[in-house]
Subunit: 91 residues, 2 copies
Amino acid sequence: MFVGKRIKELREEKGMVQRQLAAALEIDSPMYSKIERGERRAKREQVIELARIFEIDVDELLTLWLAGQIYEIIKDEKVAKATLSFVEMKL
Amino acid sequence: MFVGKRIKELREEKGMVQRQLAAALEIDSPMYSKIERGERRAKREQVIELARIFEIDVDELLTLWLAGQIYEIIKDEKVAKATLSFVEMKL
DNA sequence: TAAGACTTGTCAGAATTTGACTAAAAGTAC
DNA sequence: GTACTTTTAGTCAAATTCTGACAAGTCTTA
């Protein structure tokens, strides 16, 4: 989701096509396309590999990847903000 | 997890035993025990029902329930706080 | 010991996720 | 327009995870 949008930006900046990144991740292009669009979730290892390929800080991409997962859980919740505050307190 | 700890407190305050709550949720006692200890995840409907039984604000319990799910995702992540900040910004 | 409360472990069926495949759609160049 | 590449959409079986139930265990109290 968030990570999908970001890797699409990065891919286009680098002038690459989906097929190339799919090959690097050893998945097929349709699958990579779905990851970019947030239809499928990337694996942690794939996120790390993508950061390596795009030469950006892996933490940036991992943050987006995790954020997408969390967002999916609370996006429609009335108590979303309270939940985040609670978790932050517990960290 | 968080919700498990809380419903245990509430149950003991009310002087109830697990068997009674298991019956109310139409699950067996071992299952309820696991929910309390965070070994199994309660369903949303069960959380709502528990709030009703204990006569507390359903939002309180839902917050703890959601928080547990989120905590599981980011608890060991170096970027945990950054992730929460990002999600909060996106809400 | 007996009885009740709670926990642990296992297991099959259900539900979800995964990766691959096909083919359609969209975009590009000729 | 056609031919070609890229991207997206849809389907499917295999793999994985989740679920609920059961049996048997521990622990406490009477």
